[in-house]
Amino acid sequence: MSTINRQELEVRYQIFDRFILKDQKLYYDKAIKRYRAAANQVNRFRAGSAALTAIAAGSAGVLVSSFFTGGQVCGVDAADPASYCDAARLGVGALVLLAMLLPAIGSIFSTLMELYQWDRLSDLYRSASENLVVADAMSPPEGTPDDEFLEYFREYAESALTVMNAETAQWGQSIREAEDLKKFITAQKARAQAYQQDMGESSSSRS
């Protein structure tokens, strides 16, 4: 029932091609680059904090066994502790502190990875981008006769819209809350409630 002539169809095709298909493909391609870069950066921090934790814990162990275990110069039963024992003690304390803090910092980056799901979304967008290329391949070729142009255009545009629809549906399914955070919130709520109950009980026993 379409009464649109060939020239108008071509303009509408160009608008669709430029402002939705090419634009959407550009969005996918840029998002893939950005997500991969972010995932690599955060992964490096995560790996770095794990490696530094191991180094700090290992170094603390070496210092303790070298200076503080039984019979060593800085041990509790040493008759004449060396002058550097205070510095060694400080060093062990700092390393133990680092070995405690670094895993917590590493967990910040692990949970960020889970929250943003850069890897999963990159895969999803890569697949959608490839599917858009397939849809683009259905665009009306040069010299398509007038009576076939409309059919080509419809198939091309519907395919592109279907790809975008499928991507939105899959994207919605892939976004979910980080399990660790859900457990943390539940535990903290229970803890806050327990404190509240403790306070209530102690104030009622006083009165």
């Binding site: 029932m1 379409s2 649109i4 002539n5 020239q7 108008e8 071509e10 303009v11 509408r12 095709y13 608008i15 669709f16 091609d17 430029r18 402002f19 939705i20 090419k22 634009d23 959407q24 550009l26 969005y27 950005r34 972010a38 950066q41 955060v42 304390g93 502190l97 405690m100 803090l101 917590a104 910092i105 967990s107 910040i108 949970t111 960020l112 929250l115 943003y116 665009s139 255009f153 419809r154 545009a157 519907e158 819209l161 629809n165 939105t168 994207w171 919605g172 976004i175 979910r176 809350e177 660790d180 955070l181 943390f184 919130i185 903290q188 709520k189 803890r191 806050a192 409630q193 404190y195």
Partner: protein
């Protein structure tokens, strides 16, 4: 068919967000949520009007006029709905991520305090009460955030608004390309069909035919 804009590698896709936001920072930091979310861009368009006019300049005045009329009608019936849904989706996405990042920081603080308590048990027992108070503050802060952050639930609100916004965007181009069901109607019937379908999509339902 040749594309009129051959090189797209140096351009940004069309979106409501700020271009090159936190451009000098590493990519993962650029994606962290904002504390102050900017207001909606009331003039946002899904089509760059200058580029469109450039395209229309090569067609006949009648064709250009019909396409401009379609775009004007889309502006009246659909675009304001898209703008609002798209903005709400971005707003709740930011809100969801902001709360999640705060939880992440609180969780890290809780594990540091816990480890500190274990360490202080033998070496500095006098700081244990202070650490215990910190633990209570973390639990209270988390409970507060979980309570204020759940109304309305940011994740569900983000996903629902994004789904409707993307549907409206596809509908915009469906109408402009005169795809089904718009190719079955003419004149005011076609315009009414758009208004009806856009309203239903915005409502979250099936637009039907």
């Amino acid at each position: 068919m040749t594309d009129q804009n051959a090189s797209l590698s140096d351009v940004e896709p069309i979106h409501q967000g700020e271009q090159n936001f936190r451009g000098s920072l590493p990519e993962w930091m650029r994606q962290l949520p904002r504390i102050q979310f900017p207001p909606m861009d009331e003039n946002f368009q899904l089509i760059d009007k200058k580029k469109l006019e450039h395209m229309l300049a090569e067609s006949t005045p009648e064709v250009a006029q019909r396409i401009r009329e379609d775009i004007d009608h889309l502006d009246r019936e659909l675009l304001h709905l898209f703008r609002e849904r798209d903005y709400q989706a971005s707003y709740h996405q930011n809100r969801y991520r902001l709360y999640q990042v705060l939880y992440i920081l609180l969780a890290a603080a809780a594990s540091m305090v816990g480890a500190g308590m274990a360490l202080a048990l033998n070496s500095a027992p006098h700081i244990i009460p202070a650490l215990a108070i910190l633990e209570v503050l973390i639990a209270a802060g988390t409970t507060y955030l979980a309570t204020v952050g759940s109304r309305p639930p940011p994740l569900a609100t983000w996903l629902e608004n994004r789904r409707r916004a993307e549907y409206l965007r596809r509908e915009y181009f469906r109408y402009l390309s005169n795809l089904s069901p718009y190719d079955q109607q003419k004149g005011y019937l076609r315009e009414m069909l758009l208004a009806k379908r856009a309203a239903r999509i915005n409502q979250g339902g099936d637009p039907g035919v």
